[in-house]
């Protein structure tokens, strides 16, 4: 499998497209700034949100028990899944109980993480993603490239082509308004005919046993209110203690995500409709292990707004698919190694550690510090390339010995001056698109000794 640098390089072969991708996401970052800068209390809200989440993480087991008992009292059926497989099996069994072979689904990054769609397809269940962006990538047989904007990497002409092929829209029509309307008609039929609908969960409230789903399109509601069975898949870290805490989280979520004051719909599901059922699946899938890593646990505070992706200069220029994991970008790069350190060893290095991600994070996750710390763990666990290991050891021994450092510097500069081709060649990744610095005749130290030393 290709790693981040290789996939990013591939993405960069079309520079005009990189510019477009970068500018589109930067525009979302700008919208986010406009919203957050308009609230004088913004930084205090981030702090409150962060503290609430810290409390949640310190008490997660009790909050889950409390949520379970309140949800049950509300008539919601609660399931527990230790991992992705168990989650997928529960969904399949619920579908089979209903005799259903079709399901409509709204956005849930957890189901991406669990690869639910593939699993259900293998079991002959027809799954339709109802979020427009998700439907687009589903038709294209691709994973989402962004957690909030799943098809942000696709141009409207490509979407027009997909819709022409799958929905029968006229060839060459790439008007967003027209295509959205075509998707509306196509998906409305699905909403009206599916007996089972699956949604994600943005927040679940321990105190009341209800859960909240946020969308702009209204697709979660269309699915849930028209189906007989509503399945909600939820990562266990989505718990918050009390309803009033939504007063903090709903103020920051959409502002951070898309620069809207709030999502169009913030739906609170507390009890099922008469004669209908709501099932909620509480999924661990590595989260309890993550909680046991003190340096990394607060990544579990994430509310999946995607602000860190929009602001990340690397993400904007490498595309979501270069991260080869369900959740891309900075937050994905600190979540993924917890699941599989070897497979995702490249991700914490896919960053300049510029720190912009930590500054936009509405729950104040120390993302760039965690990237730095994951690098140390990954190297210690032996997942660094051997070339890098040797290089670093040599570098360290040179830099630890002043005279060796000075001699190497001198030799290095001399070689660069006299035999520039030693460094100015294709094997040197610096030189491929950049000139090497022009080596001066003397180092600062040499100058200092000549001119200043008394």
């Amino acid at each position: 499998m290709k790693n981040h640098p290789e996939l990013a390089e591939q993405f960069n072969t079309d520079e005009a497209r990189v510019n477009w991708h970068d500018e589109t996401l930067w525009w979302v970052r700008t919208k986010r700034d406009r919203m957050s800068h308009a609230l004088p209390e913004w930084e205090q809200l981030r702090e409150s949100a962060s503290q609430i989440k810290n409390n949640v993480l310190s008490n997660l087991s009790d909050y889950l028990i409390q949520f379970e008992s309140n949800a049950k009292a509300n008539g919601i059926i609660v399931h527990w899944a230790a991992d992705a497989n168990e989650h997928n099996a529960i969904v399949l069994s619920l579908l089979r109980q209903q005799g259903a072979t079709q399901m409509v689904k709204s956005k849930s990054m957890l189901t991406e993480e669990c690869h639910l769609n593939e699993y259900l397809e293998q079991n002959n269940i027809d799954v339709v993603d109802s979020d427009l962006g998700e439907r687009v990538v589903q038709l294209a047989k691709e994973p989402p490239s962004h957690i909030v904007l799943p098809c942000i990497h696709k141009k409207k002409e490509e979407i027009g082509e997909l819709f022409h092929e799958h929905l029968g829209t006229p060839k060459g029509n790439a008007d967003p308004q027209f295509l959205t309307h075509a998707a509306r008609l196509h998906l409305r039929e699905k909403f009206l005919t599916r007996k089972v609908a699956l949604t994600g969960v943005n927040f679940a409230i321990a105190d009341t046993g209800e859960f909240v789903v946020c969308t702009n399109e209204g697709n979660a509601d269309m699915g849930a209110h028209l189906a007989d069975v509503h399945i909600a898949s939820m990562g266990i870290e989505k718990i918050i203690p009390q309803r009033k805490h939504l007063g903090v989280f709903l103020r920051i979520l959409a502002r951070s995500a898309t620069g809207q004051p709030v999502t169009t719909y913030s739906s609170h599901f507390k009890k099922p409709r008469e004669g209908k059922a709501i099932h909620i699946i509480l999924v661990d899938n590595g989260r309890s292990i993550h909680l046991g890593r003190p340096d990394f646990r607060n990544a579990l505070k994430c509310i999946r707004c995607g602000a860190c992706m929009n602001t990340c200069p690397v993400y904007r220029r490498s595309g979501g698919h270069s991260y080869h994991t369900a959740i891309a970008g900075p937050i994905g790069s600190i979540l993924a190694p917890n699941l599989d350190m070897k497979k995702y060893a490249d991700l914490p290095f896919a960053s300049t550690l510029c720190g912009s991600c930590s500054n936009v994070c509405p729950v104040k996750i120390d993302i760039h510090d965690q990237l730095f710390k994951w690098r140390q763990v990954i190297v210690k666990e032996g997942y660094a390339t051997s070339g890098k290991k040797v290089g670093m050891k040599v570098m360290n021994s040179v830099l630890s010995h002043p005279s060796l450092y000075r001699t190497s510097g001198k030799i290095g500069r001399w070689i660069m001056n006299h035999f520039p081709s030693v460094v100015n060649n294709k094997l040197n990744p610096w030189f491929r698109q950049r000139e090497m610095p022009e080596p001066p005749k003397e180092s600062f130290r040499e100058w200092y000794q000549k001119n200043k030393k008394r």
């Binding site: 800068h37 300049t352 690098r375 360290n396 630890s400 610096w430 200092y448």
Partner: protein, 244 residues
């Protein structure tokens, strides 16, 4: 006031003029500066690559060189931040901690310790300021655009004291240039693209010079500028603040 100059390894080897400008500038402002001769590197290249466990030798060498001073001044936000956040020593933990507190990036030292109000410098050019991330987001040399907080900028304030200097506005005030230490070679494609985009922002606003507090970012931008045969040049902020 005993002040030591810490010149990062790559500045020592490739950009001695930055060390010279820093030294001259501080001297001009009445500071007596010493350059400890046995210094090498802060250890950041290893640590940022995941090899922090290799740096104890670098760390103890740093402590040996610098523990006798009241202040340590360094013309690099990145190296300063690394020392501030990561310098440690198992045998001399207190000395390490004390160094972490007394190391200053140059513009920070000029602003917060020397409280410089005016400079006798002249640089009659259009200049774009590149905010290096570690100086800005790590050391808070300037306000960060992500935050809802009042604006300020230590390097900008100093640049405005320079005669004839015209500071240009940028579309993206504090976007990373893509240097990122070993990132610049391990993620070559993205690194260069980020650098090119930064340069475009400056050239679009007619900068003649790109300045900043970190020569590493400027070295990366310079490499791209020279490959593009651009007439735009880079200059470390110390060189501009010291320009006559």
């Amino acid at each position: 006031m005993k002040v030591a100059l810490f010149i990062p390894c790559y500045v020592d080897q490739f950009y001695p003029q930055v060390g010279i400008a820093t030294l001259e500038l501080l001297t001009k402002l009445g500071v007596e500066v010493t350059y400890p001769l046995q210094q090498t590197c802060c250890g950041q290249p290893m640590a940022n690559s995941g090899f922090a466990h290799l740096t104890p030798n670098c760390d103890s060498l740093f402590i040996k060189n610098f523990s006798d001073f009241d202040y340590i001044v360094c013309p690099s936000g990145s190296c300063t931040l690394h020392i501030k956040e990561h310098l440690h020593d198992e045998i001399r933990p207190d000395e390490a901690l004390s160094i972490r507190k007394k190391i200053y990036e140059l513009t920070e030292f000029l602003t917060d310790i020397l409280k410089v109000k005016n400079l006798t410098a002249s640089f009659p050019h259009k200049v774009g300021l590149h905010q290096s991330c570690h100086g800005q987001r790590g050391l808070h040399l300037s306000q960060m655009t992500e935050l809802t907080a009042p604006p300020f900028s230590k390097p900008e304030r100093l640049l405005r004291m320079v005669d004839g200097l015209q500071l240009i506005e940028l579309d993206r005030k504090d976007e990373c240039c893509g240097f990122g230490g070993t990132f610049c070679v391990t993620e070559e494609a993205v690194s260069v693209k980020m650098g090119k985009d930064r340069i475009t922002d400056h050239t679009k606003h007619e900068a003649e010079f790109i300045t900043g507090g970190d020569m590493s970012c400027l070295m990366h931008l310079e490499g791209i500028l020279r490959r593009q045969h651009s007439h735009v040049r880079v200059k470390h902020i110390a060189e501009i603040l010291n320009a006559q």
